[in-house]
Symmetry: C2
Subunit: 338 residues, 2 copies
DNA sequence: AATGTTAGCGTTACCGCTATCGATATCACA
DNA sequence: TGTGATATCGATAGCGGTAACGCTAACATT
């Protein structure tokens, strides 16, 4: 059945075996019109039994179209982007388009390289997390002849389309909630990755929100590297040791606030009695903990879905689409920790 | 700066602007030999300022080589595969090869479609999780003219190369550890996704390990869908309600055992005093919990690294590489929960 | 009978880039 | 001065498909 010695099987081989021209075989396999049922069946049968895999490189070059959507995210470990992807996939599932993922590692230079690589494949769309890019990246995106959607964030100037939430506002809103509940001795724990722009915006918004009501941060801690429960736990311990009278901590990620909760559990502190906790993202790991932690839902799935729909929409349209910018409102859930 | 009205910039345009032939421009941009320093610099300069992005579709068709490695995993949400990816990326980082990820959703049909799509781009390698595939998938992989590496699992018959651990043995080993510590009233909680073959193998091995010492499972519970802390917590609660005298539970995933721990914390049960817990994978979320949970390290990162190295090795070699099968030994850590 | 219509298929000309081979210029050295 | 070696570059011919258009046979229409 499988002579692996056989030379690579080409469309012309399939065509010859089916006794039709290359063109007819091509049409048959792609399901386009102008092929009789009988011929199509014969070609398909031959292709299947011989294990023909079409060469999409040649096909795409010829047809000048690539059914891929490039998706560039900072990380896949961080719990947050897989859900954006899953939103994208669910929308694309019913179309001929397929997502292709690239990882930029929270570094603009790496991002530039990844996007260049992606665009060199001439995809049907580019979805990229964040609004901050190198100058060269912005140029590439502006010149790309495919729709570009920047996602997650709306605080800035998008090159093309844009779907996200305002992290500045998210920080402000959480500050308002915390203040409304009477907390005044407040700490912040967040990443210091210089390029996690969204975490920084939440921080800035949070500070603004506090200061609007005359409150200043009592303590803050910044960490390098990826967020983890472990890190959240350690930094919470340190901060509470320094400031035993803190009554609330805001974290730049749920993963970190879970760590905070773990510390409190271990140290016998009551939440929110001794200290209130709040995170960000509404990650799935919040479900099933001894206590529901306060958080802001970052609308990750919906962001992915909407971004994919914009790409589809741009594909349908014959004119280049006018820039769309969708700002979602991230709901805060207070849980039992505030 | 950016006339977006400009027609798409082609290599021939760059060449013309630089006053050289297309061929020389091509060589200059790809860094191959036979170009003077001065010429190369000029071409690069022009390409950069004009934002030229090479068309890799045309390039690959012409050179009959694609610098991509296809990686097919069942899921990106499950915490486990991102680390395999990260192992792959770290090895590929220093080479011209780039990983491209496809998601099969724990379904063989979807896997078949994803792999077909991947192979249609004629990648330099294919790394796929698991040994179980549809007949058509096996045929495609066997005929593919690139190295194929099946990863994660070694219990079965690989089509090409193989790197992984024995999940059967991992289950057996954990059974031995549990029995050695005197536990006899044992429960199991695991996925019932019919196609999570590795979870099933661990289960089978576990049962074997118990029965070798005359012990049978006291209770078992299977769930559909992705693993989560929430689910682990609920099922643990149910199981302990049915069998309050259980003294140990083995989970098919760490995420689930964390849920078990959460239940115990909430219900005031001591671990391992009232009930011992053990999971699988050695996920990062185990770090920072109130208690170190027992687990088996699935060697995910190393598996990724080794798979990538095999692809590189096959690329160097001129003969098709003889099948390599690497079986890693997953270390068990007992933590404080056994 | 002449003409139009349509389904089904084939021929031609590329898509944008690179492998290959040959051409030319330059320089070292006998 | 001639000879070859070396460095640098260009013309040609594809890579494996598909868009566009052309052609034919068979049937419908007038």
């Amino acid at each position: 059945m499988t002579k692996s010695e056989t030379k690579k099987l080409l469309l012309k081989d399939v065509a010859r075996l089916a006794g039709v021209s290359e063109m007819t075989a091509s049409r048959a396999l792609r399901g386009t019109a102008d092929v009789s049922k009988a011929t199509r069946a014969r070609v398909e049968e031959i292709a299947r039994t011989h294990g023909y895999v079409p060469n999409r490189i040649a096909g795409s070059l010829s047809s000048q179209s690539v059914n891929l959507v490039a998706v560039v995210v900072p990380s896949l470990n961080s719990f947050v982007f897989p859900e954006v992807l899953s939103g994208i996939s669910s929308v694309l599932k019913e179309t001929p388009l397929k997502p292709v993922v690239g990882v930029s590692g929270y570094e603009l230079e790496e991002e530039e390289e990844v996007i260049r690589e992606m665009l060199s494949w001439r995809p049907s769309g580019l979805i990229v997390a964040g609004l901050e890019h190198s100058e060269a990246t912005r140029r590439m995106m502006a010149q790309a002849d495919c729709p570009v959607v920047e996602v997650m964030d709306v605080d800035g100037t998008p090159v093309g389309h844009c779907v996200g939430i305002s992290h500045l506002q998210a920080g402000r809103d959480m500050a308002a909630q915390i203040l409304a509940r009477g907390y005044r001795r407040i700490g912040f724990i967040g990443t210091k990755m210089p390029q996690d722009f969204r975490a920084r915006k939440r921080f800035d918004g949070f500070i603004e929100g506090l200061s609007e009501q005359g409150v200043t941060l009592m303590d803050r801690e910044h960490y390098a590297g990826e967020s983890s429960i472990q890190t959240g736990r350690q930094l919470t311990a340190q901060m509470l040791e320094r400031n035993p009278d803190l009554d609330c901590i805001y974290y730049s990620s749920d993963v970190m606030s879970v760590g905070g909760l773990m510390h409190c559990l271990g140290a016998g502190l009551s939440v929110p009695g001794d200290v209130a906790l709040a995170g960000f993202n509404n990650l799935q790991i919040l479900q099933g903990l001894p206590l529901d932690l306060a958080t802001t839902d970052a609308c990750r799935r919906e962001i992915g879905e909407r971004a994919a729909k914009i790409v589809l929409q741009a594909r349908e349209a014959e004119k280049p689409l006018a820039p769309i910018c969708t700002r979602l409102s991230p709901p805060i859930s207070l849980g039992q920790s505030l």
